[in-house]
């Protein structure tokens, strides 16, 4: 298969970015999207090796993009492909996207996540440190390793444990923010708040957690939630917006208690 790629190139956070057009050829349909990007990069590096070619064109080296596990769980990959975070198709990360999902000869646009809270580091790489900061504000249960009861001392109904697990499968990739017209991080925050709030272990700090995480989210420049539900539609792990409803309940009941 052959493709035309329009790829966002940006030297660093300060400089302005632009699209560049590249062509890749003879891509097998079982190739993953990131393997296709690897092939593009090999091609660009070989072009760079030839000083004559570099002098002629605009030399910007291989395209930088975040990636690591390549099996859909680490949450590092973060490409905005043809107007969708992680590209077309539901419930996949970019690394699980395969070229068989595209048409031969198609032009594919590749951009970084775009959000005020996620500044571009280079090309398609953004800084998602804001997510870490939100979790540092309260996304934990305060315990000491030496003083915990036997694991089976706290029975948890299977249904609750399953729901908690649904929310806990968030991989922190940021697709929810990238898909939201307001750049809201509500789904991300809601997933963590919900997964802990659903379990008896999470209850003692539930009020403090919900308030602290929401306050940190607002402080870091994420937008407000206007219930478009784009986040759920684009979430590679299918995290439900019902978690946002639960976050709102937790948050309001915490505020009432103030």
């Amino acid at each position: 298969m052959n493709f035309t790629l329009k790829v966002w190139r940006q030297k660093n956070a300060k400089e302005k970015g632009r699209f560049e057009t590249y062509h890749v050829k003879d891509i097998a349909e079982d190739t993953s999207f990131l393997e296709m990007m690897d092939i593009l990069n090999e091609q660009l590096i070989h072009e760079d090796m030839d000083p004559v070619a570099v002098n002629k064109g605009c030399h910007s080296g291989p395209v930088s993009f975040d990636h690591d596990c390549r099996e859909g769980i680490c949450g590092a990959c973060s490409l905005y492909i043809n107007g969708h975070p992680h590209g077309p198709g539901a419930l996949v990360t970019t690394c699980q996207l395969f070229m068989r999902n595209f048409k031969d000869g198609e032009t594919i646009t590749v951009e970084p996540w775009r959000s005020a809270a996620f500044p571009v580091v280079k090309d398609l790489v953004v800084n998602r440190n804001a997510f870490d900061q939100i979790l540092q504000a309260g996304g934990f249960i305060s315990i000491n390793p030496g003083a915990v009861p036997d694991a089976n001392a706290i029975p948890v109904p299977k249904e609750k444990a399953d729901k908690s697990m649904d929310a806990a499968s968030c991989i922190g990739c940021g697709a929810c923010v990238a898909s939201c017209k307001n750049g809201s991080a509500m789904l991300f925050v809601a997933a963590r708040v919900s997964s802990l709030a659903l379990l008896p272990q999470g209850r003692p700090e539930a009020c403090r957690r919900a308030k602290a995480m929401v306050a940190k989210m607002d402080e870091l420049g994420f937008g407000a939630c206007t219930n478009t539900q784009a986040c759920e539609a684009e979430c590679p792990k299918g995290i439900s917006v019902s978690n946002i409803a639960r976050l709102n309940r937790e948050f309001l009941s915490a505020k009432f208690k103030d």
């Binding site: 190739t31 080296g61 390549r70 395969f98 979790l135 915990v148 089976n152 697990m165 922190g172």
Partner: protein, 648 residues
């Protein structure tokens, strides 16, 4: 220098060693902990749990990782579960049985005392993780569920769907975040360790490269904890994450830490087969699938031919024409034999011409019987996300047709040599998790990596490091202007400049693929003397080519992934070479290390306990010099050494 190799295993009965040791070692008072700095490199299960625990104790912790967030460390990808000797299933499990299974699974090449301690603390890990809010799978009664893994006959594995590693890591990361909020831990994401700094023979700091800016920085501490994982990516194609590498551990080796059993690499039997030349990463299908999936190849070669030509589907092959070779060869354990055994059995069938897939390098993992027995819903509940992942990658529906799988490099049992306190041969330098060598011998059992990472980080290192640090309470903050820091930083910069200035004709990945092919061919599932000698010289040739002909794009003072890869590949040549040397030295077959000269008539591994019942710890002797081998004899006082038997 052999006197460095003292394991410090406490005296006394096995079951009392750890308790006695804890009572004997010194502790640091809270007001002194505040004055002590600890560096933790890596934020997987080992690193994150260590940073969280040390922070909770009140030490000043600096924690480093190469990814944009600590949560992305490769522990996140562990699927199946974590072992513990809880005996919640009432199936006669115990600390002793977990200990015994682990020693046997490791083919009698791990330390009794370390493994017993691991089994002993395993139960506390589960207690802690539940308290952290990890949503483990539960039964309808609200109590925790278990499943089985390879090499054992009890159900002792706790799990959170097929995402156990993710959940455990998020738990450790959350505890670390709590400490970051409290101010005891400071996190440095996108920082790669380039060197270890040693002052007066003790580890006192590290040199890092800021991956975003290229800035080379110095950090000092009273102790350094390495939790940087394994070196499986030396094979290029593996189930490891793309950025996983052995460089941090390797710098420690070059600074004097012994490297133990480098040839022990685990080849996981159930990975999605290679599909073409453009592939760069293999995907694991969790071992837990072997609880319900049955592994087979066709009995008849004509069926193999028809399958390869797409004339029939695997589901059309009748039951009597299927060879469930694991059930046939190992009736007692069946599909749940340990990983090394299952991998070799798959290779044996494929080498004999019964492999499926276009390449002939695959076997079937079939859920037909399980779906008939349990129903599709139960299978979806247990493995839904794995089935979904398989279908996404292969475009084939595992509910209808069996999965195709093939072995791939997954984990490295070898690593930095550590004593009972998890300290390397460099005082003040600790190694935990996959990065050390201590607990898995020649082969790791499934669901034991998570157990070991968390045992080291939550319950062992926080105790043992106190003993060392109790002698440092009057030592001031480490001065990073010391000449040792100057020198290390200068060398790191020189290395970077050298790599950037070669400007040859081959990309980093092209050379890495060549190295990977060599490693897989000669230091993979089957090894022999001739091949190992050949590969050592081939690696040297390739290293020379790398040094003359690599092209590293870009500059240092920028986000530069090519430079990151080049720095890691630089060390992979050395690591590959030492692996081959170690494999050549170990003229026996044991665990994942299969020397074709040493096998039984049935093709099973043949150990040589008389000559090789030792840990091979290699000491770096300088560039171009052969490393020196030190041997730590393994003593089995509580377990009767036997031929590993999974047949009856």
């Amino acid at each position: 220098m052999a006197d460095k190799l003292i394991s410090h295993i406490p005296d006394g009965p096995l079951a009392e060693k750890w308790t006695k040791h804890k009572a004997d070692i010194r502790v640091v008072s809270p007001n002194n902990k505040r004055k002590l700095d600890i560096i933790v490199v890596g934020t997987g299960l080992g690193g994150a749990s260590a940073a969280a625990s040390l922070g909770a104790l009140g030490y000043n912790v600096k924690v480093f990782c190469i990814s944009d967030s600590p949560r992305r460390a490769h522990s996140i990808a562990a699927q199946g579960g974590i072992n513990a000797a809880k005996n919640y299933q009432n199936d006669n499990d115990s600390v002793y049985r977990l200990f015994y299974d682990t020693i046997k699974g490791g083919d009698y090449r791990s330390r009794e005392a370390n493994v017993y301690r691991l089994a002993e603390v395993s139960n506390k890990i589960i207690d802690l993780c539940v308290a952290q809010g990890i949503p483990f799978a539960r039964e309808y009664g609200g109590l925790l569920a278990n499943r089985s893994f390879g090499g054992v006959q009890v159900s002792r594995t706790f799990y959170a769907r097929g995402q156990t590693g993710q959940q455990l890591l998020l738990g450790a990361y959350a505890e670390m975040n709590k400490e970051i909020a409290r101010g005891t831990v400071k996190s440095y994401p996108r920082h790669e360790m380039l060197d270890l700094v040693i002052i007066n023979g003790e580890a006192k700091g590290i040199i890092t490269r800021n991956i975003e800016t290229g800035e080379i920085e110095r950090f000092g501490a009273h102790a350094v904890v390495l939790a940087t994982g394994g070196y499986g990516n030396v094979y290029f194609l593996s189930t490891n994450a793309m950025n996983s590498n052995g460089s941090a551990a390797w710098q420690c080796y070059k600074k004097g830490a012994y490297f133990a059993n480098p040839c022990f690499a685990q080849i996981h039997p159930t990975c999605i087969p290679v599909h073409g030349k453009q592939q760069c990463k293999l995907t694991l299908m969790s071992e837990s699938l072997r609880n319900d999936g049955r592994i087979w190849v066709p009995k008849k070669k004509e069926d193999v031919a028809k399958l390869r030509n797409n004339q029939i589907k695997p589901s059309q092959i009748p039951e009597e024409d299927r060879d469930y070779y694991l059930e046939r060869r190992y009736p007692a354990f069946g599909n749940l034999v340990p990983r090394d055994v299952a991998s070799r059995a798959a290779k044996e069938r494929c080498d004999a011409g019964y492999g499926v897939n276009e390449t002939g390098l695959a076997v079937f993992l079939d859920f037909k019987t399980a779906i008939e027995r349990l129903g599709k819903d139960v299978i979806t509940d247990r493995y839904g996300n794995l089935f979904q992942m398989y279908q996404k990658i292969t475009d084939s529906n595992p509910y209808e047709e069996p999965m195709m799988i093939y072995p791939a490099i997954h984990y490295t049992m070898g690593g930095l040599w550590v004593d009972y306190d998890l300290m390397t041969t460099i005082p003040g330098l600790y190694a935990i998790g996959e990065c050390n060598f201590s607990d898995h011998g020649g082969n790791r059992l499934g669901a034991s990596a998570l157990m070991q990472g968390l045992a080291d980080g939550y319950f062992i290192l926080p105790y043992t490091i106190g003993d060392y640090l109790s002698h440092k309470i009057q030592e001031p903050k480490i001065d990073t202007n010391a000449p040792e820091f100057e020198e290390a930083e200068k060398k790191a910069k020189e290395k970077i400049n050298k790599l950037l200035s070669i400007k040859g004709k081959k990309t980093v990945d092209e050379l890495h693929k060549e190295l990977g092919n060599l490693m897989w061919e000669y230091v993979g599932m089957a090894r022999d003397e001739k091949g190992l000698k050949t590969v050592i010289s081939k690696i040297e040739d390739l290293r020379q080519e790398f040094l003359k002909n690599v092209y590293v794009d870009g500059a240092n003072d920028q986000f530069n992934q090519e430079l990151e890869k080049a720095l890691r590949l630089y060390d992979f040549f050395d690591i590959g070479e030492l692996m081959a040397q170690d494999a050549l030295n170990r003229k026996e077959s044991c665990g994942g290390h299969f020397r074709t000269e040493m096998q039984t008539p049935e093709g099973e591994t043949k150990r040589d306990d008389e000559n090789y019942m030792y840990v091979a710890a290699w000491e770096y002797k300088g560039k171009g010099e052969d490393p020196e081998l030190h041997k730590e004899p393994l003593k089995y006082e509580n377990i009767k050494i036997a031929v590993r038997n999974y047949k009856d």
